[in-house]
Every structure is written in structure tokens, then in C-alpha cells.
Symmetry: D2
Subunit: 366 residues, 4 copies
Amino acid sequence: MSGNSLGLLFTVTSFGESHGPGIGCIVDGCPPGLALTLEDIQLELDRRKPGTSRHVTQRKEPDTVEILSGVFEGKTTGTPIALLIRNQDQRSQDYGKIVETFRPGHADYTYWHKYGIRDYRGGGRSSARETAVRVAAGAIAKKWLSEKFGIVIRGYMSQLGEIEIPFESWDQVGDNAFFAPNNAIVPQLEDYMDLVRSERDSVGARITVVAENVPVGWGEPVYDRLDADIAYNMMNINAVKGVEIGAGFASVAQRGSVHCDELTPQGFATNHAGGVLGGISSGQDIVVNLAVKPTSSIAQERRSIDKQGNPVMMATTGRHDPCVGIRATPIAEAMLALTLIDHALRHRAQCGDVVVDTPRIPGKIA
Amino acid sequence: MSGNSLGLLFTVTSFGESHGPGIGCIVDGCPPGLALTLEDIQLELDRRKPGTSRHVTQRKEPDTVEILSGVFEGKTTGTPIALLIRNQDQRSQDYGKIVETFRPGHADYTYWHKYGIRDYRGGGRSSARETAVRVAAGAIAKKWLSEKFGIVIRGYMSQLGEIEIPFESWDQVGDNAFFAPNNAIVPQLEDYMDLVRSERDSVGARITVVAENVPVGWGEPVYDRLDADIAYNMMNINAVKGVEIGAGFASVAQRGSVHCDELTPQGFATNHAGGVLGGISSGQDIVVNLAVKPTSSIAQERRSIDKQGNPVMMATTGRHDPCVGIRATPIAEAMLALTLIDHALRHRAQCGDVVVDTPRIPGKIA
Amino acid sequence: MSGNSLGLLFTVTSFGESHGPGIGCIVDGCPPGLALTLEDIQLELDRRKPGTSRHVTQRKEPDTVEILSGVFEGKTTGTPIALLIRNQDQRSQDYGKIVETFRPGHADYTYWHKYGIRDYRGGGRSSARETAVRVAAGAIAKKWLSEKFGIVIRGYMSQLGEIEIPFESWDQVGDNAFFAPNNAIVPQLEDYMDLVRSERDSVGARITVVAENVPVGWGEPVYDRLDADIAYNMMNINAVKGVEIGAGFASVAQRGSVHCDELTPQGFATNHAGGVLGGISSGQDIVVNLAVKPTSSIAQERRSIDKQGNPVMMATTGRHDPCVGIRATPIAEAMLALTLIDHALRHRAQCGDVVVDTPRIPGKIA
Amino acid sequence: MSGNSLGLLFTVTSFGESHGPGIGCIVDGCPPGLALTLEDIQLELDRRKPGTSRHVTQRKEPDTVEILSGVFEGKTTGTPIALLIRNQDQRSQDYGKIVETFRPGHADYTYWHKYGIRDYRGGGRSSARETAVRVAAGAIAKKWLSEKFGIVIRGYMSQLGEIEIPFESWDQVGDNAFFAPNNAIVPQLEDYMDLVRSERDSVGARITVVAENVPVGWGEPVYDRLDADIAYNMMNINAVKGVEIGAGFASVAQRGSVHCDELTPQGFATNHAGGVLGGISSGQDIVVNLAVKPTSSIAQERRSIDKQGNPVMMATTGRHDPCVGIRATPIAEAMLALTLIDHALRHRAQCGDVVVDTPRIPGKIA
């Protein structure tokens, strides 16, 4: 497999370029009998789609999805679910400079040396446009996890550039363009983004994703640890440069007596582990942080080289997100959902009939 | 696969429990013709083995490796290389309390609920003892990468608890028990660890690993990104709670004009990317940071529950590393080597005959 | 993976139902730089498509393929190639009886018990219509193998029902509707098929496929043997019940002194091995035979049961191939091509730089 | 993976050479809680081991197996089960001629060109000695399938050279050295083998394997069909040149009205399908035939070449099975067991909670 498939049992195989006919995927391994409609998927796509505020790219893509297979009379059949999103807004622009030079911070230089050929239109395969596919596939995973286990997967922006965003409430996440769990801070975020854009610059972000109600026992103990697969899936998101589970890098300076979560009959006393112990879910909330780098496409002149190795100066103009992190929350949720459903299926394959008398304690003390 | 195999083409399949007959692995996919001796592997194992200073566990394990197959007349044959390390120091101790209760911060509770059965002796499969296997397999990967491409993979401790360790020189890493690249700071580290131990506590660490001379073009662009596989492999190390590539979480607060590395004919101007662009190696140094949590086994009394769900107090006595991060450096190097060799083989499978006239620029400006 | 992906490095992931919106696949891992046009694929599809003679199903499907990604300016880019074939001729017929009963010899009963839900329209996912996808993907594999190594993959019908078809010439295979390498026998085949149809019955066939110019050294020695992967891929074709490599079942009664192919400087003296020794290609022609069972859909009344377990009598009317083997030749060629390209890539991953001084002998004595 | 791992969820990864320190495997994915003793495995190994009659190789190998991990207090823990069989009877013989020449019918020539290096001692990795490993792993699979589903997997020799062996009774299979289900024919088989040996020749065999009580619904519908995985696993056995499911090649000349098995409330009326419909088990007996070629190692002089390409004459002396088919029955049973357990786990991963009201009919009419 050449890096376009995710998952062992609930598998997503993706295709498509930014400015080709379309993007899509095949979801294989979905359990049969799940009620699934176009709306289930479209709702998630709409959360990620471009052009919804002035703080994101102005490319107009309705991201309308078509289900080509695997759903019959409103239910999944257990056969592959193929999803297709036609590209709409491929501008017939002049790619002249991009063809011959490598945009700094982008995959242009690496693709060229790897493949010897490159679809330069909008970044081709390396475009973040591909992430729509994951959101679509993730919507299926989310629905199954929710119906089967009551699992809730939600994310929010926890930092924008230098601005930390205190968590106020899940309810506020949907109220603003930033997925900020804090409406009061939104004006500050807007001013900040307006400034960044006016300076023809971009900025990073930190996203937090949480899964609640994950049963104890999912994940493999040594190499396909649940947290390792989460890290893998998150780092597979364009522009992500760091992943933390639970206390993450803060655990470096922690003492064991602080970090290590005590168990009580009423639940886990704390959650520094972030819901994973020894690679296996503990029943605590799964808490993940990701670092999203600033967009590489900025309108400032920067040094680069052309294909012949000559120095050039180039600015990347066009329709770009000044902070790719702003649209990253639904993607991160999708990736977490895809990780979890795969391990749910792996768990029941090997341990589906394990019964223990031991009570399960709550993920947290109520 | 139930989570005991790493890699698609250079595959490591691991087995073994802390207090069973032994641990080991099968390395499949190694290119034939590589000169390989027991010493090549033993040298790396000796860097990780316990009992080498007062700051690590006092368990006495020589970690002597046996090659069971795949090497003939001093060279790899292309067939599976099986490695076996017999356990030596399994104390016939009283596991009474551990049998019936779940140690906080350990995998006891999660294993029990996953499998319904648990080898409680020394943590069984969840013991960090298994990491010796990776170091052994990684030694093979390291050697091939070095001989074939001149790749150098090295790591060091960059933070111990609250103490940041300024990088002085690679030469000093081997001079001290901490893998600190800074001999001057070692007395401070020793005092700190003595204090932590005297307080019957443990502490976390940050490890940095670097790969030099990795050619441009390794890695897959969308899902098996090189950085995603690195994150996966690092998070598969026991006790790791966070992974960064390049600037990592610092990129959250960075502007694009700062983060994004310019290209010049003389090389990349900076390396915030950490050697990976669009999931593919850029020829820059690959730079990875990991957060290692404090050891969960501490001799302080802590709250937990037993199998019946009753509250208990328990302290974990025995021979434990007060900072598992101290021995993590060779493991992290091994995991990086295993990631790279797998992508080296994947690259030549798909793109082995790609030729471009474009010059490759140096990873950094000399 | 739930059984819809083929190959480790050149991967085909398929989707689609007989009477859904369409069928298609994602081809992942294709080497970059291969010149590829729609015509390359369409030509192979046209060899398999229905309705080309009175001896095959009269369903009208132009099988027009669309390339959705992975090809840029006429060349493969190394990214996934998505292929889509829209279904055209889905008759809005009354499926009443099929909905509630299980057609004998079909997957109706097994799908129902496996999934608990079934797209009964034309057999849904179990329809041989899906094989068009493999022919399309196989066309890409064939082209690469041909351009890179001069490999020629061809097949023919070697038996129809009780009629053995003596091989006359490859040139004649394309001259008739049966893929028979023997034009003189065609009238006899036609009469035979007319008889079978008039009796509302169906009949089996044997197909032979040959790959020439495969280099020595492809295949894995123990479990992913080249012949094992061929057997797997062939048995994955609908209705195939047996596979032979080289002498196949005839080798049961052979002596070692007869079966075992001698080597001479001028080439192998015979080819009972069918081109594979110890799981690895020998440079001889790869020769494969498959047994295709008679079509299960016949218009005679047969015993079956309904969903409640009651006995019913049913005849399967509609548009069906009276001998599915007639259209199987291009499918078998495609499957062989897909097997070979996967092993070609696997070979160069592990052994890409092996050099031996030993001369390669011809596959056969000229 | 380089061809030394079998299975997706119940995975066997094998290692070892004929004359190296030992052979063995890691079984990953075994469900936890299965009672497992050394004897369970040893009993199966003893059925395959050499030296038990004059009709098989006289190499003395007790094939004593050691369990290195994954079993605790007599039960599987869900972690990898490592098995080790030390080689005992590696004669320090003169390999001079084998080193420089390629034995006809063996993997010598293909290994050499693939890897550029070759462990020539006893065929190295290509030796049938490796099949002991599969029998050991298969014993675990067999036990789980038996305990969990009452599945019975048994095989027998159905033809030796030209002699067809009529099936009399399962009880007689264990009574003779040939695994013949017919004691009356044994003297004829013995005379035949004595003749073959006296002529310094070898001969092929056909083996039949049957699995009873397999539930309906195992297998994947399109590419990982149950019968395709069976064909793959069988063709992975050394010397196998053909595989049939159910009627196999006989189905070529069958009419649909004959081949296609009718369903009745009392069970399937016939079993030409061999227990698989549309790639999925039907509840009928799974019936598999394999063709085993005659041993390539014979003491007659035959033509070959040396490493420089010069013609040589060579006879293969030493301790060889004059009919490798004689010891193939336990191996074929093991491979069928390994195929079935993998699909059992895959089935419950995706469809573990499917409930249908439809009654399951018996595999055959009582």
C-alpha cells in the first residue's frame, strides 16, 4: 500500500487531486445494518468546507458527496462504501511559476524528487482538499460508534497563534468560525486573524479532541497501541507537527506521584493518561492535542529555487487559509473516530467473547 | 495482526513477557547481503540494558542475543532473522498483591478487561522489557541505513524533569548514564535523580532523536506520511505521551513567515519542518522529540481497586527505573531506524527507477 | 480489510454493486511516469464486456471508464488512480421472488447469513459485473509489465464443457467469441452452446493463462509464493473452483524423473513447473489453468428455500451467461498481471540491488 | 512483509532454515483464554515428523517444541505465542557440489538469482522442514475451532502416483503411514513405494482435506474469498501444484443443472460447491484437493548447470522423502485450520452482532 489507506479492519482508501475531476474514498469493513443517509455525511462535510467565513480560504466548493455503493435501502450492507465528491471550483489559472519552482514549506520539492512528476495544480494530491474525504469517512465511523456505544467525539480550538483559548463550554464550539469553546474570546480571535491576513502572513493553532464513553479494552498492547494509532492518524493530517495524549509534554516535568491516575470505585481520580494505559483504552476520556503549523502559502516574497536549482523569489498568492488550524477540528474528530472504530472491530475480533466479573469503574469521578 | 508487528516491508514481529522464558522477534524483509554479526546487535542492546548505573533499575539482565536464522556466513540471506533473548533474572517473588489489584498508571486494569487473563509477573507483556527487542531489530536497520546511505541516527536526553539540558556535543552523549549531550550538567542530573529516588517518586523526560543524511523522497504523501509513521512508532514506546516533528508545538505560536523553511541553492535555510514536507523526507535532518512520562511504579501508597472493585491502597516496590526516560534514547533511535528502513524499501518499490535532472540541495546551509 | 483489496504494493481496492450507481476501484502504488490513456484501459474492458455474441449475457453495458485521479498530462503520477464505470442497464424489474428466496449455487444464502442484509438486485456485490474493475486495473498492470520488462500475458479457453480445445495459435484467440486458440473448432463450440442454451442449462470451462518473459527472482519463498498468490487471485474470480500451476494435477501421477525440469545452458528443457520453483519465478513461462464452474443461473426449476426456511421451487430467468467461462479469459489475464506487478515491486523493494555474475538461462530451449 | 507471515488477524510469522539452529514462529492474534498445552502441539507435530516409516525421509528430528511466550498458567493470554523447534540432525556433510550447482526442480536457481546469496545446507529456507512450524501453529487453530465451534478438520491421501485410494473410513487414516483412509490398499501402496525407491525415483500424490461444522457466513465476498485464501494457503505448501474446491476441475465438464447444489429445509442436497458459495462458507463441508508433485531430489543423474552457467550432471543423494505427499496431510490440515480461524476472527470483527431470523439448514441432508 502506497500510503492512501487507513485502518486494518475499517479501511479508508482515498484518491483525488485538488484540481482533478474529484476526490473520494472507499470505506471497507463497515459493519452491515447501520442506517446511513447522505445527510449524515453532508453535515460533517459542511463543518469543514471552505468559504464559510472571511478567516478561511474563499474557494467555493459545496463538497457535495455521492454514495456510489455499499448502502441499500438506507442501510450499510457490509460491502465497500464508495464516496465521490466532484471538484467544482478549479480555476483555470496560470500555474506558470509554480510549475517550475518549489514553494517553500510545501511538498513541491519532495514530490518532485520522489515521483519525478507532479500535478502542480493547487498542490495536487498534497492539497488539504483531500481531508474532506476523511471527514466523510469519519462521519460513518462516528455514527456507528455513537449508535453502538454512545461514544461522543468532539473537538475544539484550544490555541490560536499566541492566544490560548480557555475552555468554556462544548455548546459554544458551533457558534463561531473558529471552533472555539468560548464565545467571549471570538472578537479577539477575529482581530488577530485580520491582523495576520493584513500582514500577508499565517499562523498556527492547537486543536484538542476528546472521545467520551470509549469502553475499556480497545487498543493493542505493544505496537498498534491505541495512542500510537491516534498519533499516526493525527500526524497524517496536513500541517500537523505534534501530537499529545493526555498530559503530553507536560508529563516531562511531572512527578509519578502527580501524573499517575489513581483508581477508586467511583472512577479514575484524574486523567493525565488521556484515556490510554499500556496502549489500551481505560474508560477515561481520550484526550488528544495537536499542533498545526502556520500555512505555508503566504503572500510574502520568500527565497526558493527552481527546477534547475537556480535561486528565485516567490510569493504564494491565491485563495489560501491564513490558519489551516481553523478548519482542522472536524478533520481531527474524523481521524479519532476512524482510529476508534478500527480498534473496536479489532477488539471484537480477538476478544469478542471475553467476560470478566470485575466491575468497570467510571472514566471519571462524577 | 494483533499489534505485535511493525513495518510493511521491513517487518518486526515481537514476542515475550517480562518473566517468561524470553523475549525476541522475527525481522522479515531485510535486504540480503548485509554483513551482520552478533556484536552489531549486542552493542546496541548494551546501551539499553538495565543495571548500568544507580539511576536505573537494578534488575540484572545481560540481554544476550542469539540469532536463530536468516544470517549465513556472516551475511543476511533475505530470509527472516529470528532473534532470541532469554530472560535471566526472573525473581520468584510473591506477586500476591499484584495478582488481585491493579497498579495505578499501569496496564493491569486495561489488560484485565481486554483479555480476561493477565500474566501479572513484572507486567507480563506490558513490561518495558520488550523494548530490548526493538533495539536489537533497530541495530540491523541502523546498519543497513548507514552502509547504504550513510544515514546517522542519534538521540539524547534533552530534558529531565524540570531540568532542560542544553545540547553541547554528540560526543558527550556516550559519556554519562543519562545520554545527556552535556557532561557539565550531569552532576545536577545525578543530584536530581537521587532526590527523586529518596522521595520514593519518579519523573519524566524529553528525548530528542535526529537522523542525518536521509535522502529526499522517502515517505508516502497522504496517510503513511513519514512523520506519521515516526509518530506512530515513537508513541508505541512504553510511557511516551507526546511526539513532535521539527518545531512541533512551538509551531502553534509561529507565523508562517518564520516557520516555513526557505530553499536556497546552498541548502535549506532553516529546519522548522524537522526534515519532512508533505509527509516526505526533504533531505533536511529529521528531528523528533518525545515526552516520556514518569514511571508509574513508585513506592508511595496510592489509591486503587482490586478485582472485585474494592478500594485498596498500594505501593509498587521492587526494582524499577525512577525515570524510564533514561534508558529511552537507544529505543527511540531504534524506532526511528525501523521507520526509515521501511520507507527506504517502500520508496524503491514504487519509485526505484525515477530519475530527475533537478539537483538536490543540502539539508542545511553548511 | 474486508476482502475488497488485492495486492500489497500495487493495490486494487474495488467497490460497487451490479445494479447500483456504478462500479470502480482505486489503484494504489502504480509507479509514476507510466504513459496511460483511457484507451489503454477501454481496450481491455471491451474484450470482457457483455453482449458481444449470442453466447454471453445480453445485458447492454458499454463499460465506459472514467479516470478520476492519478494521471496527469498523460502519465501516472504515483498517486492513487481512481476508475469509475457507471452502470447503465439496470432494469427496473420485479425482484419479488429473489428477495425472499435463495437462488441455488449463488451467494444469496451465504450473504444473508453473513450480513443480515442483502442487495438482491442482480446479485449485488456478488455479481460477476465486479470483474470489469479487475480488467481495468489489470490493464494498467499489463502495460507497465510490458513496457518495463517486455512481459506478455495472454490467455485462452482450453476446454468448453466436455470439448477439449487443442491449442493452434495465439493469433486465433481474438478471432472468435470464445477466446479459443483454434478457429476450426469454433463451429463445434457454437453448436454446443446453442444446445446448452436450448436445454436451459449452463456449462463449465477451463481457461489457460500464460505470462512470458517474467524475470527470474519474483515471488516470496515461503508464504507469499508467486504461485500461491496466483492461486489466490485466480480463485478470487467468481465461479473458479480449481487452479493449477504447470503440470498441476497431472503431477500426481508423474515420476520425479519426468516432472522435474532439467537446466541446460541453452535453457530449461521442459516446463512442468509452470515457471515457479520454490515460490519464485524461474524465467520459464508462467502457465496457469483454471476451472470455471457452470453458471448457477439456469432457467430450470430447482429446489431451494425461502427466508423462513420453507421449501420453494425456482428457476432463474433473466439475462445470464450460459457459460461464464467464455468471458473469463480477460479477467484471468488481469489477475495474473496484478499478481506479477505486485511481486515485481516487492522484489525491487527487498532485492533491488542484488547483482550476481551467474548467467540467466532462457526460459525454454529455443 | 516478505512472505513469511500468514493471516490477517490470526497471524503466523515463520523463521528458520533446514540446517540452522532451529525453526519456529510467532502466532499473533490468538484469542485469550484458550487452554493450551505443549502436548496439544506436540501431538500434531508427531504426525508430520520424519523417520516414522521406511517410506519417508530417515532424518531423525524429534521436532520437540518449546513455547516461549503467550501462555500463562495453561491458557493463552492474547499476546504472541512464540514456538521454537531446535534442529537436531544437521549432518556436517560435504555440500561441495550443491554449493556450486543448482539442483533441478529445487529453488536453488531461483533463490540465487533473487537474493544473490543462498544457505545451501539442506535447501536452507526452502526446505520442507519449515512446514513443521505450520503444523505447530495449526494445532492451536484447530483446538480453538474445535472448542468454540465443534469444527473437525481432517485429511487423507486420496491418490498415490497412479493409484487412486477409495475412501473407506476416517478411522483408518491413522492406521497407516500414508494417511490412507483405506487399510486394505496399504500393501499395494507399500509395494508401489518400494518400487519407486528401488528405481531411485519419486512420485506425486493427491491429498484431500475436509472441514466439518464450519458455520455459514465466514469468508469475504470479493477478493479474500474463503476459497481463495484456502487456495493460497494450500499452494503455499512446498510441492503443491494444484488446488480444487469441491468439484474442482470436474466442474468444467459439468452442467449447471448438475453442479449447482439445491437447498432443502433438511439441508443441501449435494456438495459440488465444496462448502463455499460466493466466497463465503455455506455450512456444507469444506472439501479441498491438492496435487503434490513428486520430490525433486532423486538419485538419478540429471542435467543442470553450475553458477558459471556450465552444464553439469548431478544426482541428489541424501535423506529424502520419495513422496513428499506422504507427510503432507497434517500440513494441509494445518493450513486449512489457519485459514478458517483467520476468517472466523474477521467475521466476528465486521459482522459479530448480525442476527437473522432465518433458519440455518444443515450442511448436508442427514
